[in-house]
Every structure is written in C-alpha cells, then in structure tokens.
C-alpha cells in the first residue's frame, strides 16, 4: 500500500490502462502540454506522445463527438471535461449519441468510452461552474454513472470504466484531487456497481457519494458523540447503485438518510428513496430523509455556498430528526 492523492490515483489508472491497451487514448482541453488543468494527466504526454494524449480546442461538442465516432470504430477514448459543467455544450453528443447509438443500430456498435472530469461545488466558482449533473445523466437509460470518493476507488473504478465495453460517465471532484489515501501497489480493479462501507453502526444508515461522503463521515463522527452510530455507505457507483448493500444496512438500522450534493428535484437520492420504501417499507421505522444541495443556483459568496452545499449541520439535524 502506498499513500497517494486522488489525483495521482487517477493518473496511475490512466497510465496503466494506456500501457495495457494501445486503443486507449486521452483527449481534452489542456490535457497534454499543460499537463491537465488539475494535473490529472501529468506526465502522460511525455510518456505516450501526442497521438494518445490529445490537446483539443475549446470545442466540447466536437471533441465529445469525435470520442463517440472513435469508439464506434473500435478505439477506447477517455474524454476529459475540464469541468463537467462544460459538458453541457456537448449535451446532444452525450445524450442522443452516447445514449442511443448502440440501441438504435440494433446493437451493432459498442461504445467503450469514458467521459470524466470534476463536478460539484465548494470552490466558489459560481453557478455556471458548480453543477452536479450526475442525476441528469443517470436519467439516460444506458449510461453508467460513477463517482468515487477515495483515491483507491478512483483508481480501481477508472480502470474498470476504461475496460468496460459501455459508456461510463466518471465524476471526480476538485475538492477531492488533493485527498490522500492508501492505494494497493498491485494491479486491481474496483467493480462497478458495488458500494463501500466506510463506517459501521446500528442506529442509522447514511448513503452518500463523491465529496459528500466525506461530509457524511464528519457528521457520523459528530453523531457518535451523541452516542448514536451510523452505517455510512459510499455508493461509488451511482447508477447502477448497490441496492443490496443499502438494503442489508437498512434491515439492520431501520432508518435511512441520503446525502447528495445535487439539487433535490429528481436527484439520485429520490430514486433510492423510492426503491427502498417500495421494497422495504415494513423495515422502516421512520420516513427516509434526504439532505441535498439547496434548491437554488450555486452562489459565489463563501458563507452562502457553505449553506447551499450539504454540510455537517444539516446532516446532523436530519439524523437527529430520524432518530427522535
């Protein structure tokens, strides 16, 4: 085990998969000569050359489509968005083409493509740059949506995503890149669709994903001071999410709190809440609660942004309400 950052973990995953398979290439803004806007691709241009580490103009719609075409033809593109908020100018490619081409062609084509980059707020870059579009893309039937919270999972899941024969939308976090954690030295893959148990407790189940997992863990720590212990489940994959793991926990705690950074309306937590109440109604001792981003665009002001994001205070309030 070595202690590395989330950023380095992603970098290793890219390097290992590019080493392993010459069909894998990385494309995006500033990924090459600049070494990545957030340095995730540091050193890759030097190692793999400009054929496989491709700097693009600021043309997301076009280079996303180039990724789609290259994947149809048999390559395995990894397309970086400097920020997922910039992917919206490529929405047609992502939703219509990535979302339908295999199906509409009667299954003739594969789309082994990864779209990746940071999403979410917390760095005061304002409403246009702080989106959490995980749930929007999860609404497209064929898309796999992944959002690792820890370096180990960032590496293992990115490797799985690149080897998947299906399109994977991979959400990182600007606030996660510098996070350190133990990552195995030997080659490993983290399976898509399996959650991780980050903390165990019998009183309450907290389900979260991405950066919010860390906020949820802080809240669970504070809750322990009240004498209440929470199971904290980090989804890792948002779609398809690990229903069985959540169910097992809810059958133990009988209380479920979902923490998600995105806005509340039709966020992924709403789907989980629906599924749990539908299938485990008798196991619940309290209504399922969700703590989400507040229903407002992301403000620039620091104090406001802190209130808009899921925070420890709001998670604790919801947990106490559930446990009352």
């Amino acid at each position: 085990m070595a202690k590395i950052t989330y950023r380095q973990a992603l970098n290793q995953a890219l390097a290992e998969e590019m080493e392993r398979d010459p069909a894998v290439f990385l494309m995006g803004e500033e990924v090459g000569e600049y070494q990545g806007a957030f340095k995730v691709s540091q050193g890759l241009l030097q190692r793999f050359g400009p054929k496989r580490v491709v700097d693009t103009p600021i043309s997301e719609a076009a280079f996303s489509g180039v990724g789609v075409g290259a994947a149809l033809y048999g390559l395995r593109p990894v397309v970086e968005f400097m920020n997922w908020s910039f992917s919206f100018v490529a929405f047609d490619q992502l939703v219509n083409n990535v979302g339908s081409l295999r199906f509409m062609s009667g299954g003739q084509f594969d789309l082994p493509i990864v779209f990746r980059g940071p999403s979410g707020g917390g760095t005061q870059i304002g409403a246009t740059h702080s989106h959490c579009p995980e749930s929007w893309f999860a609404g497209v039937p064929v898309l796999t949506v992944v959002s690792p919270a820890f370096p180990e999972d960032a590496k293992g899941l990115l490797k799985s995503a690149i080897r998947s024969n299906n399109p994977v939308f991979f959400f990182e976090g600007e606030r996660l890149y510098g996070l350190e954690g133990e990552v195995p030295d030997a080659e490993f893959l983290t399976p898509i669709g399996q959650a991780r148990i980050c903390r165990e407790g019998g009183d309450l189940t907290i389900v979260s994903g991405g950066y919010s997992t860390h906020t949820a863990l802080s809240a669970a720590g504070a809750l322990a001071a009240d004498g209440k212990e929470a199971d904290v489940i980090d989804l890792r994959t948002i779609k398809p999410y690990d229903f069985d793991r959540i169910a097992k926990s809810v059958q133990k705690t009988n209380r479920l709190l979902i923490v998600e950074e995105n806005k509340p309306f039709a966020g992924w937590g709403a789907q989980i809440a629906y599924d749990i109440q539908h299938r485990l109604f008798d196991w619940l001792d309290a209504p399922i609660l969700r703590v989400t981003g507040l229903d407002i665009p992301q403000p620039y002001n620091a104090k406001l942004e802190g209130q808009v994001l899921p925070n420890v205070e709001r998670i604790l309030a919801a947990a106490r309400q559930l446990l009352a």
Binding site: D55, I58, I125, Y300, N301, L304
Partner: protein, 352 residues
C-alpha cells in the same frame, strides 16, 4: 500584428469622427490607469484570500475595453466573457460595486451571487460577465435582435476570447447575425492564449478574423495595445452596425501579462516573451504619446495615478466593510414576480 491582409470582404466604413479632444484623450488614459490599479488591488486581495474562486485579470489588455467602449453610446449594449472587470469599469460600473462583487458582498453589482466572472450592471446596459466559453455570443445576438426589433438605434458590442472562437455556438451565431443583418460588433480579444494553449495550437485558418468571411461579415483588425486604434476601428464597426445593419468581426491583438487566472502557474510561455510584450504596454505608450502631444504633463499623470490608486483602495475598503448576503436575499432572487398570470406556487424542494 494580426492579419495584415486578412483577405476579408471589408465593407466601406462611414468616416468616423476620430479627432479626439484633449479631454477625451485624457479620459481614455485615465480609464486605462483606473483599470490597471483596480486589477492590481484585486490581485492583492486574491493573495490575501479575500477574493476566492476564479479571478481573471485584465492587466495588459486595458486599451481594448477602454478604446472599444469609448466608441459606444449609452443606449448600446455590452456583453463579455469572464475576464470582465475592465469591461465593467469602462462601461461605468463603479469600482466599489465591482470590488464588492469580487469579495462576494451584498453591495456587489451582482449582490455577491456571481463573483469575479459574473459582473452584471443593467443600469449601464452591461449584460455580463459570462463564464461558459463562447456561450454569451449567442446571447449577444439576442440583444442585437431585440434592439433591431424594438428599433432602438442601439447596437451590441460582444467581446470574446481567441479561444472562444472554437466553440460551435460562435460559428452558428456568426452565420445568424450576418443572415439577419443584426446590429452587432464581435470583438475578438486575441491575447494569444486560451489558458495554456496558444492560438496557433488551437485554431486553423488564421487569422481568426477570416472566419467572418465565410458568412460575408465585415472583417477588421486593430492593435489592442493602442487605445486610439481600437477606438477608431470599433467606431467604424459600430457605425456599420448602427446605420447599415451590418455586423462586423473585429480581431484585436493584445496580450495578458498575468496568468490566465490567479490560479494559473503560467508555465507555457517564457518570461522573456512576457517582458518583450510589456514593451508595448498600452498605458505606457499612450502616456508617451500624450506627453509628446503636450496634453499630458508629468504632474497630471501622477495625479491620475494617485486618484486611480485611491479609488482602488477605496473600493477595497468599501468591499471589506460591506455586509454579506444571506440566504433570504439569495432565495428572493430566484423568480420574477408574476403580474400577468396567477402567482405560481414555488416550493423549495430542499426543505425537509
């Protein structure tokens, strides 16, 4: 300098009134100095973490906004990207309102909601500060569409970066404004880089101004280090837009001295390149020219500089002492009140 001979069909300009009175020349100089001092103050505030997020400075590019906006009338509309402090100041937004926005305060021109990249000032027909590259160019066309629709006689000036020229929406918009003969001027602030990518690495078919010729747009270039040249070129384009409804694509060659934003390590160009470019400093050059014309004395130059420094400091002090916005204010900004239909219930879905 950009495209000596861009090979573009250039419509014959109306003779623009280019003789500037001494007062006007001093005013141009003063505006540039104001922006420079404001930006330096913003940089200091960023280093002290009073400003957070992204902060893109205009230092080196002052002559572009100042020259261009000096050619506009009050009824005209202005819209730009996220490198917007200088544009807002040149448009008339107070340094206090700008700085307070950079600090996220309630007294900021966007009430602390937008930050550095999202300055807005309706009273001055300044339609923002936009942070998704290229996105605002279509919005600009919409402003010009409305000006034409309402027959206001106003035109729209849209500033955009060299990098933005590669967004699909920009090509769509250029076609549309030419087809519809909208009263608009697109001004490319070609500062040679889009983040760390030079124009040559990002763009085929240089100079960029050539792209307008595909849509039969008037094309023009200007020296962005010369405030009078920018002013004259924009004035011609504005006159074409206002009187002939002919849109223009104008490429202005400039250079940013600082990193792309305050967070950019700026490793993609040499110190020597930057030093070389600083020899064309727009403020320094204009000062020399005005001194030669015996319009500016050393005393007056010093006075202008002192006033600009004082204004920037006053703006920062004002911003520091201003109150923060709160959630109540933030939620009050979401919806316009209805007066033509029954009120619409608007639950907050995040309330537990």
């Amino acid at each position: 300098m950009v495209g000596e001979d861009p090979g573009v069909a250039v419509a014959e300009p109306k003779a623009a009134a280019l003789s500037l009175s001494p007062d006007q020349q001093i005013a141009l100089y003063r505006q540039m100095v104001r922006i420079r001092r404001f930006e330096e103050k913003a940089a200091q505030a960023f280093m002290r973490a009073e400003i957070k997020g992204f902060c893109h400075l205009y230092i080196g590019e002052e002559a572009v906004a100042v020259g261009a906006l000096s050619a506009l009338e009050q009824r005209d509309a202005v819209i730009t990207a996220y490198r917007d402090h200088g544009v807002a100041l040149a448009r008339g937004t107070s340094a206090r309102a700008c700085m307070a926005e950079l600090l996220g305060k309630r007294t900021g021109c966007s009430k602390g909601m937008g930050g550095s990249m999202h300055l807005f000032d309706r009273a001055h027909h300044f339609y923002g500060g936009h942070a998704i590259v290229g996105s605002h160019t279509a919005v600009a066309a919409g402003l010009a569409f409305a000006q034409q629709y309402e027959n206001t006689g106003g035109i729209t000036l849209c500033l955009l970066g060299d990098g933005a020229m590669n967004q699909g929406v920009v090509s769509e918009t250029l076609n549309l404004v030419s087809l519809w003969r909208l009263p608009i001027v697109f001004l490319i602030e070609n500062n040679e880089y889009a983040m760390g990518t030079s124009v040559a690495r990002s763009s085929a078919g240089l100079p960029l101004v050539n792209r307008g010729s595909a849509f039969d747009m008037a094309g023009r270039t200007a020296n962005g280090m010369d405030v009078e040249d920018v002013r004259a070129s924009v004035a011609e384009a504005v006159s074409l837009a206002r009187t002939e409804h002919l849109p223009t694509l104008l490429e202005v060659k400039t250079y940013r001295y600082r990193g792309h934003s305050m967070s950019d390590p700026d490793t993609y160009r040499t110190k020597q390149e930057i030093a070389e470019q600083k020899k064309n400093d727009p403020i320094f050059l204009y000062r020399k020219r005005l001194e030669e014309r015996r319009i500016l004395t050393e005393d007056l130059a010093k006075q202008i500089d002192d006033e600009a420094r004082a204004e920037a400091q006053d703006a920062l002090t004002f911003a520091e002492q201003s109150p923060e916005p709160d959630l109540e204010l933030a939620f009050s900004l979401l919806f316009s009140p209805e007066d033509r239909i029954d009120p619409v219930p608007r639950p907050r879905y995040s309330d537990i």
